[in-house]
Symmetry: D2
């Protein structure tokens, strides 16, 4: 099997199709596309074990939003509306249940800093709803956790999330993480939302324990953005795009292809993406909020 | 009673003495002084409820180390040796028990950033001891937690510490926190170590729940450095030092005395203090380590 | 003479009045007050040498704006409108002349970081006006300089400013700097604008060479915010406010009063102030800009 | 001609050899290799116009040091000794002449942040030699400039350097800059030192004006580290290394190959490299300094 590292379901599907030929039917998988606030939204549903095996990902719904160019008019607003609308659908509870928002990743490594950074744009209300009921009684209680990374804490992030979940008992968890892509062109330009939580196996290789309904007992929504690609996969991608066949990235691993790279302007891109995701979470979780309301609350 | 905000036991004792006169015997409290690596070390023991009431602090041992001027030769080394030696005595276990080091405080407010900053200088070994036994089998397992603050997480730091303690089951906890002092001259120049954990009540006023043997079931050592002083207390302090009596800081509260201030060069001072405390923790927790070994491990 | 350290003309005037009694006429100085966008604006004009001597500041116009509480509605907008309106008046040229905006201060010391921080919110257009005339031909050319501090560069900031001025030949210079105040209550709550440039002498003591029409040959507008106060002056201020006389701060210098302090939440306050000043400069320098236009340009 | 973007002379030579075949004599260029403190040091001398044309770089000496793996024993020390030894040779003056050290690049883009970061490790002595002669009379006067980038300042960095040079009149200038490489394996692992200054043309494409003896009137030593590679060049590099021919990177430009990438852990690498370069400059410029002395001076 061709080994192109990806955390994106749309790419896993692409890769599968390439490997078997366009005409074969991919069983156990449903895919469709739609437009939302001018953005392309692709939905891949993995329905059963057959689908799981073909795509190497657990059963569930994977939504991929392609971001507009940041210089397009209303790029930020449209990205927030499209993402929050998908999130709202996945959460779909009474609107007052408690949510825990978890930022994964290493805050000291820029392309891994998406999760911690997003928390800076997340409206934290759990303590306010409890203590200042007269003003915040109508808000949904939201708490956050920067889970840290094993090398810095000595504790698996999944362990940390479980620990806090048992204490605060949220009705659902949202985790934000940086992902790996097979295509440089998708890096920092797509957001994947999945209702499966995070199940190690695919992706950057740095296998972490699972963060999911299985391990937490409540629904886990994962929001991820590809921020890196390994050099071997990148090479295979560009060769393919240039019409030079469809080589196996493994070929390049022994000659430097295992080095993981990120765009030069990653600082800026992470800053923009973290803001989009944070705002979208707020719009999805709190009722009748506008982007201006969020800005006012956060400042 | 005179209300001078302080988190330091040596200052609570001073204040008590001032309020009752030098001749009165302070029951339930023992105090002595020694020198260690050229540094002044003051030890206040609160022995019983009488002592607790007089000083407004829980029973336990409070050690205050006065730091040398940073430009003195070997200032950094001596500070580390003196502090680690006190820590080692308070821990005094077999040397291989697991420890959790907790940084309290808001990472985005410089004078409150001591705890988070210290974690950057703490050797994290829990995962290494488990996974790379051949190299790290002789290390003591250490994990860390940046507990965050309520406004940013929606979760009390004490709640967060309890949650993680239940999961990782350390044999003891070390918490680092920024404190308030009554005297500007002690700000950033003294380190207090106590075996009482953190029990809200005195201090900056921002009452947090308790982090102690009571609530965690294991010994809790608190390391604190005064980094702030309220303007009213500062005014009373300078008036007293200038021989202008011993006014009640409350007098200044309505005219701006409740504003909390910190030295202008606090960024630099916190950086230096965090390094001293982190290194001291490493020297105390890991056997046969030199300062050079710590530097090598951390880099 | 009473030595209360201040960089603010309104305070120098206050101090003078206190020292001589309310009834005496302050010759060579004109003072008035107005309201602008709901904010108090005080204008002190030093008219001649007599005024210079009384207030210890060079001839010129000093405008002090008292900021609204940041939680007040439209606090940010009103602060920007009030400040930009004063700036526009002081500049009052054809609107297309080149301006150099200089941030003074040490970027690694939070309360000194106002100048460098403001530059992040300043629209830099000099290269665009030159190179992308079709889009930016109507903008005023603006360049910026972070002048650094002697300890970090080995070069006086005034020397650095002169060097760049000779190269880029602006028609006027705006310098932003952090100041010292006599009153804690003014720290981070007032903005002083002066058409005198920066002439060392008063202030934090760290005497820098002059940055003014004298030394640069073009008008220099100085924007300053008090971010620190020395402990002795603070003590004298609170004693006075509490009705305990009007002591000389010198009294406290030998007992710690020379320590310079800043509010505990200075990080946040500098961030907010830098944004207000940056936006105000943009509104003043570029024609027909709204706050939204500035945000769009900068993002 | 094959267009592989590189700022390194050793790579320009490689590329030339590949394009013409191993046997052809490269006229006007001398190359040799040596070992220094265990590190490989390659020296390419471009002797005349023929050499200039073949390699697309100005006449001069280009020294490339390959860094040891950072986990090797004494890696940091050896890197500093090797680099400082080359620098000392290039400077070779009386040892007391004034030097200006310039950090180029955008401090807010991590892979471009090498120059600004290096200045933090550079001993700044110009003001001390002047003002505290009794202690620093034996030091060489060194000043620094963070030149900024056009987009943030509106002023070309070359213009800024010229402005300051005219004021402080150094006897030589050292500029530090981030470079582009053709090979991912050289990114962050090699340091190039050249006595040619910086002459735009090759490299990242973002053509800046020249910083050289030509424009400043004094010798300019350029220290550069490749921190980025464009995706097309990377692809061609890995294909070649994997034995898949030697394709022209231009082929990939239209399909994403013009995206510039950097290693995922660039934050950490830049921090390490900046320290090596800063320390090496200090060892080269100041007499009889040890690494410990530098650490003591800087802290």
């Amino acid at each position: 099997m061709i080994k192109k590292r990806t955390d994106l379901a749309v790419e896993a599907r692409e890769i599968w199709r390439e490997s078997v030929g366009e005409t074969t039917q991919l069983e156990g998988v449903e895919a469709r596309e739609k437009e939302s606030f001018g953005l392309k939204v692709e939905i891949v549903k993995i329905l059963d074990e057959k689908g799981e095996q073909s795509l190497g990902k657990p059963k569930g719904t994977y939504i991929t939003i392609t971001l507009p160019d940041e210089h397009e008019e209303d790029a930020f607003d449209n990205a927030c509306f499209a993402l929050s609308s998908e999130l709202r659908e996945l959460i779909s509870d009474s609107g007052k249940e408690q949510i825990l928002v978890v930022g994964l990743g290493n805050r000291y490594i820029t392309p891994d800093n998406l999760g911690p950074n997003t928390l800076r744009h997340t409206m934290v209300t759990r303590h306010l709803v409890e203590r200042v009921k007269e003003y915040f009684g109508n808000f949904r209680p939201v708490s956050t956790l920067e889970a840290g990374v094993l090398a810095n804490t000595g504790v698996e992030s999944a362990e940390m999330v479980r620990a806090l979940c048992e204490k605060v008992q949220p009705s659902a968890v949202i985790v934000i993480d940086a992902l790996a892509s097979r295509r440089l062109s998708r890096v920092c330009t797509t957001i994947q939302v999945a209702d499966t939580g995070i199940v190690p196996g695919s992706g950057v290789g740095n296998s972490r324990a699972e963060i999911s309904m299985n391990t937490l007992g409540v629904p886990v929504i994962a929001i991820g953005v590809p921020t890196v690609v390994d050099a071997g996969t990148l090479t295979a991608d560009l060769m393919e795009s240039a019409g030079m066949g469809n080589p196996d990235p493994e070929k390049f691993m022994s000659v430097g292809g295992n080095l993981i790279v990120t765009p030069r302007d990653i600082d800026e891109k992470i800053a923009e993406l973290a803001k989009i995701i944070g705002y979208s979470i707020n719009l999805a979780l709190q009722e009748n909020m506008t982007i201006q309301d969020v800005t006012a609350f956060l400042s």
